[in-house]
Amino acid sequence: MIPRKHHRILVQGITGKQGTFWTNAMQEYGSRIVGGVNPKRAGTEHLGVPVFASAREAAKSTPFDISIMFIPPMMAKAAAIDACEAGAKMLVCLTEHIPAHDVMEMHVAAAANGTQIVGPNTAGLVTPGECFVGIMPGFNHRVFQPGRIGVVSRSGSLGTLVCLNLTQQGMGQSAFYGVGGDPMIGTTSADAVRILDADADTDAIVLCGEIGGSAEEDAAAYAKTMKKPVVAFIAGRQSPPGKKMGHAGAIVAGGKGDYPTKRAALEKAGVAVADTPSGIPGLLKERLASSAA
């Protein structure tokens, strides 16, 4: 799914410093925050919405579609399972450094309850002009403008740069989908590309990948079947092998997940690959012009 302004959002960890800052920013932009969770503050109000002891408690009186977690890594598993069992359709998991075994258990709970997990370690999602769910500068009009380009990114900071480049070239976005920098994420790059391919408001897709894993190769396999143009940039061309480049998932190990392999897979699938992020808007214009012709 793509977050819309009618979607009801629950904020787990709403009363913390970051929870408060970003909930306020989301509310100001138009995101429909209906409640928050903090077991110690249950029964009170925060930022004009009721605070509950758990997502399951919240669901009883305040139904929600999306839950977003501002929860530290060691407590993330319990919070995520709570949100899944409470019936969240989408769970946006910002937390970085959640133990991998906990992440596996979260994915089992999500599958059992029909919850779409975005992340862990995502910066969230932005639907320009409607709402945002996460820690992206969705409210910054120089970065995000409504339009018809869908953007998928493993990295929040790179995604911000790419949307800025698009906006500077007059190309607004239908949706920004941050999938996260962890190795075991719920919604993969390929999943997000598929979602945007099915979206009637999206004309073309930008895929921001990085070294490590096989997310770009998987997305390439799907892109092959698409009519909408796809343009990609892959970060990490100059990164040395065997080192984790910040993200737990960004590592070239045993010759796997390297830049040339990813670029070749994307180009073989008909995806235009930009050398630098500033090259993306030009390639998009070319592809859109030739697909319209």
């Binding site: 900071s157 995604g159 740069l161 984790k244 480049m245 910040g246 630098t276």
Partner: protein, 379 residues
């Protein structure tokens, strides 16, 4: 976190997996003494990397004198870039068959996966690449765990009936260890069947999830040291992700994706990045510490600051960089490009306190930093 054999094997033994008797030695005298107690033994280099046998780091010794002289040769060797500082003196095992068993985190199924092969030994990865049937890959549920049933099926049909029960309990115990240790990878190669039909782990490779370190306090001190330069170690102690790269353009950016991209664009415009240094995520308040570590690298000829703030507020990061810059007063030019959360305040701050005009386009900032670094390098 990686664990060397000598640290990993006792963790396996705790979970009920048989391992040979062994003793760690740091010098030839200690090795000889250990061999006297153990008898005919294997002298094994302890480094957190594979292919030790091929590199000459594993030798059989019939006597204590022989063990001591092997230890003398092996200690001080370099294997896979690691200096050998200690050897494991381990009792010899009469091997009938060599198998391979491992449990890993599988990204495709988002769960654990058992790997099992009857072709254990030195080149199992190569063998599995040539013949995919050589390695059985069995994903299973983390909720049910590795059941006896799944383990039995994984070892069936390979002529291992005589030791099947032992193998099954070894695999079930391997999973127990994998869970208890928050392992990303727990591998036994070779897992041997001895001449008297015992199932014994002759080697063990263990990688523990860094994210689980807070709840694995007991084993964290046993981990092998990371291969880090002095500055990398200093940055790690401050909780910063810093990697030295040998170029001349210093990089300070927020977020892994943007930092990698900045390095790529530097290289695209004919420069070489000096480092990876990310101040995003929770580290966004540490810009000052980050900058002072980065400036200790003598190869840096210019500095590029690229902030594209989402969670990380650019005004907070800019304040850190500007304060550190004024305090350290380095003799190199600095270039900025700043966008995202807090950009107006950040840009004003840089202009006012450093008299530097940030570039609107990242490409322009990169080109300027590369040109400056190249000019200063040629002087």
């Amino acid at each position: 976190m990686n664990f060397e054999e000598h640290a990993a094997k006792p963790l396996l033994a705790k979970c009920g997996i048989k391992v040979p008797e062994s003793k760690l030695a740091h010098d030839p005298v200690e090795a000889g003494r250990a061999a006297e107690m153990i008898g005919p033994c294997v002298v094994k280099a302890q480094v957190p990397t594979g292919k030790r046998g091929k590199a000459g780091g594993i030798k059989l010794a019939a006597s204590a004198d022989e063990a001591s002289s092997h230890a003398e040769k092996i200690i001080g060797m370099e294997i896979g870039g690691w200096p050998v500082e200690k050897v494991l003196i381990e009792a010899q095992t009469k091997i009938d068959r060599e198998l391979y068993a491992a449990i890993v985190n599988d990204s495709a199924t988002k769960g654990p996966m058992l790997l099992f092969s009857q072709m254990g030994g030195m080149d199992v990865e190569e063998a599995a690449e040539k013949d995919p049937n050589a390695m059985r890959r069995v994903p299973f549920s983390i909720i049910d765990g590795l059941t006896e049933e799944v383990a039995r099926e994984a070892v069936a049909g390979l002529g291992l009936d005589a030791v099947e029960d032992q193998l099954v309990s070894t695999l079930v115990n391997l999973y127990k260890a994998y869970r208890a240790l928050d392992a990303e990878l727990l591998e036994i190669n070779p897992l041997v069947i001895t001449a008297d039909n015992q199932v014994v782990a002759l080697d063990c490779k263990l990688t523990v999830d860094d994210g689980a370190a807070p709840r694995q306090e007991a084993i964290v001190p046993l981990a092998a040291p990371e291969k880090r330069t002095e500055l990398e170690a200093k940055a790690a102690a401050e909780g910063l992700k810093y990697i030295e790269l040998g170029g001349s353009v210093g990089v300070i950016a927020n977020g892994a994706g943007l930092t990698m991209t900045t390095m790529d664009v530097i290289s695209h415009y004919g420069g070489q990045p000096a480092n990876f240094l990310e101040v995003g995520g929770e580290a966004y308040t540490k810009a000052k510490t980050a900058l002072s570590i980065l400036l200790e690298n003598p190869n840096i000829k210019s500095l590029l600051v690229n902030f594209c703030g989402a969670f990380a507020r650019t005004d907070v990061m800019a304040e850190g960089v500007v304060s550190a810059w004024q305090e350290l007063d380095p003799d190199i030019p600095i270039f900025f490009t700043i966008h995202g959360t807090g950009e107006d305040e950040a840009i004003a701050l840089v202009k006012e306190r450093l008299g530097v005009e940030p570039f609107d386009l990242m490409d322009d900032a990169v080109k300027a930093a590369v040109t400056a670094a190249n000019e200063r390098a040629s002087v």
